[in-house]
Symmetry: C2
Subunit: 217 residues, 2 copies
DNA sequence: GCAGGATTAGACCACTGGTCTAACTACCGG
DNA sequence: CCGGTAGTTAGACCAGTGGTCTAATCCTGC
């Protein structure tokens, strides 16, 4: 979305600008962040700022883009699993990789967590969709693979399961963050294991083999 | 938080003001909403506005307060269940009551969904905590009751389960909303059943009786 | 009828994201 | 080496933001 002119800038200059912006957005969230302040701190003029980016939204999207690219590079590798064990191994790897990423780089973590704002913010729906869609697609493919090897339950609509899992992962991320801040990295590893166990639990079919129904008892 | 002066106003006047505010916040979210516009539409002057409320945050909190009160009145009743069946019946009632509330009153629904913004927004953390805390307490009590009658799993820390369930419920709410808009009330009832089944599924222990662990297969 | 507190009105402030024009720079043909 | 032109930058300016403050008005009790 950013004007191509921006990419023609010297890479270090680009980096510097995005750095300032990332800092601001991470600290204050999208709405709280001041475009003017970013401009000032980056040492560019308003004219230049609007020459490179279409506006605040655009800069925000660009910052998110680079951040998420970093995450995907680290975690996004996925090869079609041969069997259920392979599936879980890969999913586990991806999940803990993401946790590592999010716990080791606070700024990126805040940016990513801040995306939740974008979903609710009418002005940012475009941005939200742009980043949410590919993520859903990716996870959808992963789940489909999981079904193929018999690891993932079939008694629940695929898209519902996807949404449920994402929501749970996101919510528990905050829970983990709290744990992590209180107990440090090592102790919170156990908590992460518990969370992953829950994810696994939700994603697999109940051993009884019955579709989950609202039971009377 | 609102100044007591506000409650000394004629009830219809209060209602009118909160009505305008609710509309604005529901439509634009907290950050997008214009305090000035609310003031203007409510037909009061700036002086009065700041005489009644401490500021935008305060008005927002007041609006949320009355909205959530409506929800709690409708759904919040809970008596200690005698057995597991009773527990599920009550939980089911509460869940579907909440869904009804959220699906029948769009404005309130948007306000409540908008609360997700508050969580991420640094400026609104105070507001978020104020409303999140009692809700968590309530759900915590419910889960504890569920454990007591053997309906809710014990193999997962109580607070983790709480967070996971809330996150899932919230995420699936958006999913349901989509369904509801596309299929109408009746058809989406089935979807809601599926979601509740998932909730129930997540909250109960696996029949094998084993603690969920990261299985190798 | 008047004093004094409660209430209202609205000018004013620093700041917001965004627009626009004028100036400057760099390159390229003659 | 100059002149013109496209690419780039600077910053004044705009309407709108949430918030403050003072002066006027209202209302009540004496």
């Amino acid at each position: 979305m950013a004007h191509p002119r921006f990419s023609r800038l010297a890479p270090e200059r680009q980096q510097a600008i995005l750095d300032v912006a990332a800092e601001e957005f991470a600290e204050h969230g999208f709405d709280g962040a001041s475009y003017n302040r970013i401009i000032e701190r980056a040492g560019i003029s308003k004219g230049s700022a609007y020459y490179y980016f279409e506006g605040k939204d655009d800069l925000y999207a660009t910052v998110l883009e680079t951040t998420l690219t970093g995450l995907v590079d680290r975690v996004g590798t996925w090869t079609r699993p041969g069997d259920a064990a392979d599936f879980w191994r890969q999913l586990r790897h991806a999940y803990f990789g993401m946790l590592d990423f999010v716990m080791s780089d606070e700024r990126s973590a805040r940016l990513i967590r801040g995306m939740a704002q974008a979903r609710a913010n009418p002005k940012l729906q475009e941005v939200w969709l742009r980043f949410e869609a590919p993520l859903s697609t990716w996870l959808g493919r992963v789940l489909a693979d999981g079904r193929r090897v018999g690891a993932v339950r079939r008694d629940v609509p695929e898209d519902l399961l996807l949404v449920a899992l994402t929501g749970m992962a996101q919510a528990t991320d905050f829970w983990l963050l709290e744990r992590w801040e209180r107990q440090g990295a090592n102790a919170s590893r156990r908590s992460a294991e518990q969370v992953f166990a829950l994810i696994q639990d939700l994603a697999t079919e109940r051993p009884t083999g019955k579709a989950p129904r609202a039971k009377k008892s």
